[in-house]
Symmetry: C2
Subunit: 415 residues, 2 copies
């Protein structure tokens, strides 16, 4: 009597342990130089330090008149103070004007404060009368002056290594005059969808077939996470074809992703292939959807065999593949999904304690809180449960479920 | 006696009114056909309808045996039911097996349910004894079967027009076999930084100059929002040069963005240029930072003159330019920033009622809530107030400020 079928995933690895094993073997990507302006979404390899003070001179924060503040003391609408306009300081121009008492210099926002001045009175509080400027409002010392190094001090770390660069970071680096920076190379990723049932999008569907939607999904997730797709293909359930694709990909890929064929079905060849040709870190993780995931490595190449059902493949990517890409990039943030806290709309009971559950939810905005509306807890084949949802609430393996109005942390789908 | 200086922005347009005027003149971009797999981040021009049911046949949700459910009734570990295995249904293969009572068919997850069967018993609840399969657990009708059209019905709208495509949308469209879709063309954007003080990143900084950080910031924001930068340059404060660049850009750009030279400084030429060569929709908006913004149009080209201070330029982009790009793309979501609700850490008084204030905040995560830590309310020159913050809390023109522990809506910086 055969008991083989009973084996299945008798021993599941916890998500936490699988990630620990995985991260322990990951090496950082090499780095290269790139123009700062072209660095959007790249991850910086080294701390970037400032090389100049910003601002690098005391500058005016207003359009107005630079003056010695005490000359304005006591000024009011009815009793203005009178000063002599002795010149003009424009932005970007060099001037050597020096101020004495009861002298002012017309100054634009961003222009250098003239020698002698310790404040700027804004133009709305003045009036011109020939060479004389009437000051209608007093200003204290330092008023409307942005001091040198107020924003950034020379030598401080302005961008931490492992930061993924966004427009505001690029602006900050450019403001330092740094036109080239060192970033991590994008990990090279090969993606294979396995299964006799798969046909290419655009062909005519025959009975029992399904269109390949996993590899387009995964390849676009790889792009969002900062990897580079070097191969994307579907392979039929044929041991030799799968093995051939795998061995070809090994030498050129940092990551190989299979979808389908990871479970204990009669045509699930991948576990055997990995057992013989790689080192299996985990096969079967305590997560739903996504339990049949297999994670392996062959030297520095990571191999992820994700389930063929699209939602399980998606969640398997978010939980294991994406963070591995980020770890290779030596990123500060291994799970870059944006997070919010919401109140769960209804009870969500969970029957199988011990599993990390991925509840897909939609966010509704109320006046003072966000509401997480459960879309689907179970089922891994419905892609519409992803497109109809905004994010995922993870229910920990130790939780029996969620009670209505519980605050929950929502991980929004990657954008 | 000259009162010119007093004029300034005596009349500010509210942010709401400026957006209303702006949106009322915006026309949607043309559309074009693209391969579904290459459509990441594009915005779909038309509703996409499903052309097949998903699944398009009744399929098994488990590895196991398809059977007539009533044959399993009463089964238990101690009293299994016995059935005859009459064949196998594999994924992607066509089979015409038909079941009678006390017959089962071995079936893989995703394979078609054989004729006659109305349930699947999972493999863990069975045992093989030659041709005989022992069933240890009863299954009700429909158990472990995913019915045809359970995910998607043929003819329903699966992607709404105006959706920006993410990996899960691409997967859904591919699952329909739709390999080409119609998306909006990226608006063409020209960007000019104006100011004598600006020098190109990489050159040597002279006294009173500053490195150009605005155009790299804006051009990368344009990319994130789905526009295409066709020109990016800095121009010195010279009427004729600015006019020349403007007139050249008009005929080839959907959007022209200037930074700097928008206020009432002595060298702010842009208001005059726009007055003579375009139609000004708003000059001066009731927003801080960002008040000196000028918005104009010349036929179908939109013109945004943003302040030269980087934070004001950034916020001006987020509030006006980005939503205009999205409106041109006919996007469902004109402000694509992710949102969360947090509790404000401390009182934030606001002195000037009537302005929309943009408070930069950092998010801290506590157990059951997010805390918004104010970084900076005022000041528009400090880029570090952007890189050190996670998002912006808008304080409405009618609010006197925020009280500690108030719930606030945070708009996270675009990613």
């Amino acid at each position: 009597m055969e008991r083989l079928h009973k084996i299945g995933f008798s021993k599941l690895t916890s998500v936490e342990d699988a990630l620990k094993k995985l991260f322990s073997i990951i090496k950082s990507a090499q780095s290269f130089e790139i123009n700062t302006i072209d660095s959007l979404n790249y991850t910086v390899a080294n701390d970037i330090k400032s090389i100049i003070d910003i601002p690098h001179f005391d500058r005016s924060a207003m359009d107005g008149y630079a003056l010695i503040s005490e000359d304005s003391f006591g000024a009011s609408i009815n009793a203005p103070k009178y000063c002599k306009n002795i010149g003009i300081n424009e932005i970007g121009e060099v001037s050597n004007i020096s101020l004495n008492n009861f002298e002012v210099v017309r100054i634009s926002t961003g222009a250098q404060i003239p020698k002698g001045a310790d404040a700027v009175v804004k133009i709305e509080d003045t009036e011109i009368d020939g060479d004389t400027i009437k000051i209608y409002s007093p200003v204290g010392p330092g008023k409307n002056i942005t001091k040198r190094a107020n924003d950034i001090k020379k030598g401080e770390i302005i961008i931490q290594k492992g930061t993924q660069l966004k427009p505001e970071h690029i602006a900050l680096i450019c403001s330092q005059g740094i036109n080239k920076i060192i970033v991590r190379k994008e990990p090279k990723v090969s993606i294979f969808g396995t299964g006799n049932e798969l046909i290419e999008v655009g062909k005519i569907l025959e009975k029992k077939q399904i269109y390949n939607s996993n590899t387009p999904m995964i390849s676009n997730l790889v792009k969002l996470y900062g990897g580079r797709v070097i191969e994307e293909n579907i392979i039929e359930d044929n041991k030799e074809l799968i093995k051939g694709s795998f061995l070809n990909a090994i030498s050129v890929s940092d990551i190989i992703i299979f979808t389908g064929g990871t479970s204990v079905g009669t045509k699930d060849y991948l576990p055997e292939l990995m057992d013989k040709n790689a080192y299996i870190l985990a096969h079967g993780v305590a997560m739903r959807p996504g339990a049949p995931i297999l994670i392996a490595n062959k030297e520095d190449t990571l191999i992820f065999c994700l389930p063929g059902t699209p939602v399980a493949a998606y969640i398997g990517f978010l939980k294991f593949v994406g963070p591995s890409i980020k770890k290779i990039l030596n990123s500060i943030n291994l799970d870059p999904r944006e997070e919010c806290i919401a109140s769960i709309k209804e009870d969500v009971p969970v029957s199988s304690i011990g599993f990390l559950h991925n509840l897909r939810i939609r966010i509704e905005k109320e006046k003072t809180q966000l509401i997480a509306v459960p879309i689907r807890l179970k089922g891994s084949s419905m892609i519409s449960s992803l497109t109809k949802s905004d994010g995922i609430v993870e229910i920990s393996p130790f939780q029996e479920g969620l009670k209505k109005a519980d605050p929950v942390l929502v991980k929004l789908h990657p954008k």
